[in-house]
């Protein structure tokens, strides 16, 4: 894509109290992209997001939003961003509307009409004039999203945005995000544990583990990596063959089962070889991967550092 990147993270590192929380991150996002950010607890997702919006300073590296450096051109960079970081904490002693008006007052480009539009977009019209101490978790979440949308940002960063929403709410949210990305060319950056959601909403995904991105790719491609299971008489031989011929790392599951992920080579080709080598193949199945399995597979066995 030849458009200017909306978000560029170059060589981001962060050390907190001597511990390297973020080891290395490079990331580029373009307009209309819906991007998912995944990782186990403690991998550094929220830390990365905080660095993007200037809450934390990177130890090394740069963050650029729409061509403006967050470190040196904060105001211009942030004019393009709307975000929620973890929970959207707002002033409990004010009403929803008063909270939004406070944020609107900080930015001359946000008028009263825009505030009303944002409220409508998240469906809070009927409760907007109540004190937020009376809101449910879902309502607070919606208000948070409204707050993020106020400035018509080019980059929308959402940390756990569907937290507390009921299934209907989640569907509404999904539709809203899609609309924003395609109709208003917003880039949406979503960090979530709800892998199914990410799978449904995002087109690109990065998986972060222990401060580095271990996998990035279009969701479809990643999911396209089929997971195959064979039942054979000699699992070890099969594993050796798969490794030798196609460099595929297979693992032995229970008794006679071998499992591997396949990208390129066709299943037919592999099966042919296995049989040729004298293996008795009793069962073979292919499972469409879910992001969850991909995720767990890549990150399993990790301790939270």
């Amino acid at each position: 894509m030849q458009q200017t990147p909306v978000l560029e993270l170059k060589n981001i590192k962060k050390t907190i109290k001597g511990k390297e929380i973020i080891k290395h991150i490079d990331l580029t996002l373009y307009p209309s992209q819906i991007f998912g950010f995944l990782g186990p607890n403690g991998a550094g997702k929220t830390t990365t997001i905080r660095m993007i919006v200037g809450l934390i300073r990177p130890t090394e590296g740069s963050v650029t939003i729409c061509g403006h450096s967050v470190a040196h051109d904060f105001v211009k960079a942030m004019s393009n961003v709307g975000c929620i970081i973890e929970s959207p904490d707002m002033y409990k002693y004010l009403t929803g509307m008063e909270n939004l008006l406070q944020y609107a007052a900080m930015n001359k480009t946000i008028g009263k009409q825009r505030v009303r539009d944002a409220v409508e977009m998240v469906g809070l019209q009927h409760r907007i004039n109540d004190k937020i101490s009376t809101y449910s978790l879902g309502m607070r979440q919606r208000l948070g999203i409204a707050q993020a949308l106020l400035s018509r940002p080019k980059l929308l960063i959402l940390d756990e945005p569907t937290n507390g929403l009921d299934p209907a709410g989640i569907t509404e949210f999904r539709n809203l995000i899609r609309r924003l990305a395609y109709e208003e060319s917003m880039t949406v950056f979503v960090s979530s544990h709800l892998l199914l959601e990410i799978q449904e909403i995002c087109d690109t995904v990065s998986i972060i583990k222990q401060g580095t991105v271990i996998k990035t790719g279009a969701v479809q491609e990643l999911l396209h990596e089929d997971k195959i299971e064979w039942q054979l008489n000699d699992p070890q031989k099969a594993i050796a063959l798969l490794d030798e011929h196609w460099n595929i790392k297979a693992v032995q599951l229970k008794k006679n089962t071998v499992s591997a992920r396949l990208g390129e080579p066709s299943l037919a080709e592999i099966n042919e070889l296995l049989i040729k080598e004298g293996l008795e193949l009793t069962y073979c199945s292919s499972k469409q991967n879910t992001l969850e399995e991909l995720f767990l597979g890549l990150t399993e066995g990790d301790q939270i550092v």
Partner: protein
């Protein structure tokens, strides 16, 4: 910036802190006025008992007598030149009382207003300011609202400045209300007058002693204005320091605790002022600025109005500087 300050003041009002402070003021002023009233009645009764009824009711004779005595002293060639001013000043006051038929023992709204702030300036007023200031940043840190405040297209220093200016605005309001409430509430007890009465000022501290040689009278309203201006200055200084603590410390309760502890410690440390010069530079012991004005100060060598004001000013400046430096650089991890 205007809208930012408006935001901050709105938050403070919505949090009901300002109202809380004003209520405390009303209660304390009422209690103080009532107490003074009772003491006055008791003093008058005691004098009557000891010296016969003439002492209180017939104060005019006494005042006239005192005037004559003082005039005599003034005329004496052996009169100490230094005491001349204080004598003249006292005579003017007595003359005013006689002319306006005011019993010198009596309290007035004007006198009370000035006295109340003179008594409040070193502990009570700072307490009120701390209630407002201590929460300004640490409250947002502990509740997490600071995140959404900082991820906007406004640089951090501007946000902190808007908070600081909002604090100053609130400090003016508090001082103004203290004045208004004192005058109003005490007026019910003592009558609403007394604003033109002469009050002595012009005291200086020279070489560790109180020097009354340049003393002269100003009208009570001018005196009150000066007292409340000094109070405002103290409020801004204490506010700046509380503000800094609020930036550095995440909990509002800890913030308030720290400031209160230092203020109270100041009371104890004032015992060492004459022996331990280092203590002169603490802000807590320099808060009694109105004492210099009224001559009620316990003179300590080297501590005069200019010194105290300078010490306080430097503290406020450093505190503000530290606040801004820390706030703009720190990582927000809440």
């Amino acid at each position: 910036m205007f809208s930012l300050i408006e935001n901050e003041v709105t938050k403070m009002i919505a949090k009901k802190r300002l109202m809380f402070v004003l209520i405390i003021l009303v209660i304390l002023i009422s209690v103080f006025a009532y107490g003074q009233n009772r003491t006055l009645a008791r003093t008058k009764a005691q004098l009557t008992q000891r010296m016969g009824i003439t002492a209180t009711v017939d104060w005019r004779k006494l005042a006239e007598q005192q005037l004559i005595d003082m005039k005599g002293r003034l005329d004496s060639p052996y009169m100490d030149a230094k005491s001349q001013s204080s004598l003249t000043v006292r005579m003017q006051q007595l003359q005013y009382d006689l002319n306006n038929n005011i019993n010198p023992l009596d309290q007035s709204a004007a006198k009370f207003t000035a006295t109340f702030m003179e008594q409040s300036i070193f502990l009570f007023l700072p307490l009120l300011v701390v209630i407002l200031a201590a929460d300004m940043v640490s409250g947002e840190s502990s509740s997490g609202t600071i995140k959404l405040l900082l991820v906007r297209n406004v640089p951090r220093w501007k946000i902190l400045l808007s908070k600081y200016l909002a604090l100053i605005i609130l400090e003016v309001v508090v001082v103004f209300c203290a004045f208004l409430l004192s005058a109003l509430i005490s007026g019910f007890f003592f009558g609403f007058g007394g604003w033109m009465a002469p009050v002595a000022t012009g005291f200086k501290v020279l070489a560790g002693k109180l020097d009354a040689s340049g003393v002269f009278n100003v009208q009570e309203w001018q005196f009150s204005l000066m007292v409340y201006s000094l109070a405002f200055f103290v409020a801004v200084v204490v506010g700046s320091i509380s503000f800094m603590i609020s930036v550095l410390v995440k909990s509002t309760a800890a913030s308030i605790g720290i400031i209160l502890a230092t203020l109270i410690a100041g009371n104890f440390i004032s015992f060492f002022l004459s022996d331990w010069t280092l203590t002169h530079y603490l802000f807590m012991v320099n808060l009694r600025l109105t004492d210099y004005l009224s001559g009620a100060v316990q003179p300590v060598d080297g501590m005069n109005m200019l010194f105290s004001v300078t010490v306080l000013f430097v503290w406020a400046l450093v505190a503000t500087f530290v606040s801004f430096l820390y706030f703009t650089k720190k990582d927000i991890l809440v």
